[in-house]
């Protein structure tokens, strides 16, 4: 194993964590996660169902605390959820009692002083709504919008606060395939447009490979050489970590041979319980990848 200067990573990178453990009721879910993500990355996370992807995201968000280890954003340890990390969930991201525009500007209102002018917020909110192409629907309630539109409002709602990192947990998981492809392209355009940092959890490999500049595979299917029995799972680790090339944002790349091969590789590495890699053989090729021992 190549020894890396970890403290350098921690200083340089936007998101950094070492030796992260999460244990629920005595059951290890996340087992010694080491991860460092640099600025501007659209980092996607995939893994089998129940491996702990959402758990990892909740730890970064501050919704829960790790049992061991610490997570840093721009070198500072994260606390409870706060406005430097935005979040878009699969559901319940919007406030049902507020109209679309009210949903978008509510963060501004939360953080405004007593004498702030609401009109200024509304103008700024409309700018963001234009960007997500929903300015025509500003006055509707969330329940009057389709699932895809709701998610776009949720993105605008988070972006207006200019978070250091936008966390997304299967944001498009409930959408039908057509809508899903549209909003993927839309997210990429937005990401290129305003150069934000995105941490994107999905169980859809194609989506992860298509969107990401880097893909992390989280999985409990590996062996550490010790006797392995299915009844006492060891908790998920990062079993693969690839840099992805960004070819023009067209959905045709989804079918490209290179991507197909990568997806097959990831399926084998992370998704097949019969094929257990040894810890020392993980494919952690990404330059920011590291493992503490």
């Amino acid at each position: 194993m190549v020894k890396k200067d970890i403290s350098y990573l921690k200083q340089k990178n936007l998101l950094h964590m070492e030796n992260i453990y999460k244990i629920y009721d005595g059951k290890v879910v996340l087992n010694d996660i080491d991860l460092s993500v640099s600025k501007g990355e659209l980092c996607t996370v995939v893994g089998p169902s129940g491996c702990g992807k959402s758990t990892l995201l909740r730890l970064i968000l501050g919704q829960e605390r790790p049992d061991k280890g610490e997570i840093f954003i721009e070198g500072k340890p994260v606390g409870f959820a706060s406005k430097d990390r935005g979040i878009v969930y699969q559901k319940y991201s919007l406030f049902p009692h507020l109209s679309v525009i009210e949903n978008v500007i509510i963060g501004k209102k939360f953080t405004a002083g007593l004498f702030a002018k609401k009109q200024v917020f509304i103008e700024e909110g409309m700018e963001y709504l234009k960007r997500v192409r929903l300015d025509a629907h500003y006055n509707k309630y969330p329940h009057e919008l389709s699932g895809g539109m709701q998610q776009r409002v949720a993105i605008a709602q988070s972006l207006i606060m200019k978070p250091k990192i936008l966390l997304m947990d299967e944001p498009f998981g409930a959408l039908d395939p057509g809508t899903r492809e549209d909003i993927q392209v839309f997210l990429l355009e937005l990401w290129e447009d305003i150069k934000m940092n995105i941490f994107f959890v999905t169980h859809d490999l194609e989506e992860a490979v298509f969107l990401g500049t880097r893909i992390i595979v989280l999985s409990q299917f590996y062996t550490d050489g010790l006797p392995n029995d299915q009844n006492t799972p060891k908790g998920a680790k990062i079993v693969a970590d690839h840099a992805l090339e960004r070819i023009a944002a067209s959905t045709t790349v989804k079918k490209s041979i290179k991507n197909r091969e990568l997806i097959e590789q990831i399926k084998l590495d992370g998704f097949s319980p019969e094929y257990l890699q040894r810890i020392s053989e993980f494919n952690l090729r990404h330059p920011d990848s590291f493992q503490t021992i």
């Binding site: 968000l61 501050g62 919704q63 409870f80 959820a81 706060s82 406005k83 990390r85 935005g86 979040i87 969930y89 559901k91 319940y92 991201s93 406030f95 049902p96 009692h97 509510i106 963060g107 939360f110 953080t111 309630y141 969330p142 329940h143 009057e144 709602q157 988070s158 606060m161 978070p163």
Partner: protein, 276 residues
């Protein structure tokens, strides 16, 4: 398509109106027949007075000034009762809302008060009646407190459950948008449980009327419950029956108003419930 029978029935609109009226028509006809039969046998019968007799009685109470007090008795009864009911239920709604909401949001507050609230919720409200009347006499306070007590526990519990039912994602989302704890309680939680509060009040009004009439029956000088228990001594069914109908009508109107408020002010809530 069957019009009436089975789970596939789709009664057309006109049928729905006819079907809905049917039980009322039957009830009224049964009453009229029975009343007629009894009065035929004994014209002084008091149990099932004729419609004419009831109209006469209502006229005397509602549209003629009482000689001694110079007031319209039924109006005075109605206003006194409504005042007690509305003050009691409203106070219960306000206390229940804030107590339930804070129990749901703040674990420390919950640890402090939840066991206590659970304990006092078991006290049967009516058993408090003697205590209240010993302490407050026939004053308004005793009656209002009884109504308050009889409804606020249910409202508190329901507001607690409604608060708990708000998805954690909503709270976290608000935090990521820079919300303070104060904002979370008053801008996210409160507006989302308001329509549920109104629904709970609708359910509690039934209990509210019960406690109102019980307290008026025992210690009062006016009120709808006072009146029917007063004239009960003379078996004045010609007054009691119109009063009961009037109470029912008032209850129905209050329910209707609350329902309309939800429909007009909280369209998002109605839609969300439909959508599940």
């Amino acid at each position: 398509m069957p019009i009436f029978w089975g789970i596939h029935a789709k009664p057309p609109k006109i049928w729905k109106i006819v079907l809905g009226l049917l039980p009322f028509i039957i009830l009224v006809s049964v009453y009229l027949t029975a009343s007629h039969v009894r009065l035929e046998r004994n014209s002084d019968d008091k149990l099932l007075p004729s419609i004419g007799k009831m109209i006469q009685a209502v006229d005397g109470l509602a549209f003629t000034k009482d000689k001694r007090k110079g007031e319209y008795l039924m109006l005075r009864d109605t206003l006194s009762s409504l005042k007690r009911l509305i003050i009691g239920v409203l106070a219960a709604a306000v206390v229940g809302l804030f107590l339930g909401m804070n129990l749901g949001v703040f674990p420390g507050f919950n640890a402090l008060l939840m066991p206590f609230v659970t304990f006092i919720s078991i006290i049967p409200s009516l058993s408090l009646l003697p205590i209240l009347f010993i302490s407050f006499g026939i004053d308004e306070m005793g009656k209002v407190i009884l109504i308050f007590w009889g409804t606020f526990i249910l409202i508190t519990r329901d507001m607690y459950l409604a608060t708990k039912a708000i998805h954690e994602e909503q709270i976290i989302k608000a935090l990521t948008l820079g919300a303070s704890q104060f904002s979370i309680v008053y801008k996210i939680v409160l507006p989302q449980i308001m329509p549920r509060l109104i629904e709970t009040i609708r359910l509690c009004l039934g209990g509210g009327w019960l406690f109102l009439i019980a307290s008026e029956a025992i210690a009062a000088t006016d009120g709808l419950g006072y009146r029917i228990f007063l004239v009960r001594r003379y078996m004045a069914m010609d007054i009691i029956i119109p009063y009961v109908l009037w109470i029912t009508f008032l209850g129905y109107m209050m329910d209707l108003i609350l329902r309309l408020i939800i429909k007009w002010r909280y369209s998002w809530y109605v839609e969300m419930r439909k959508g599940g």
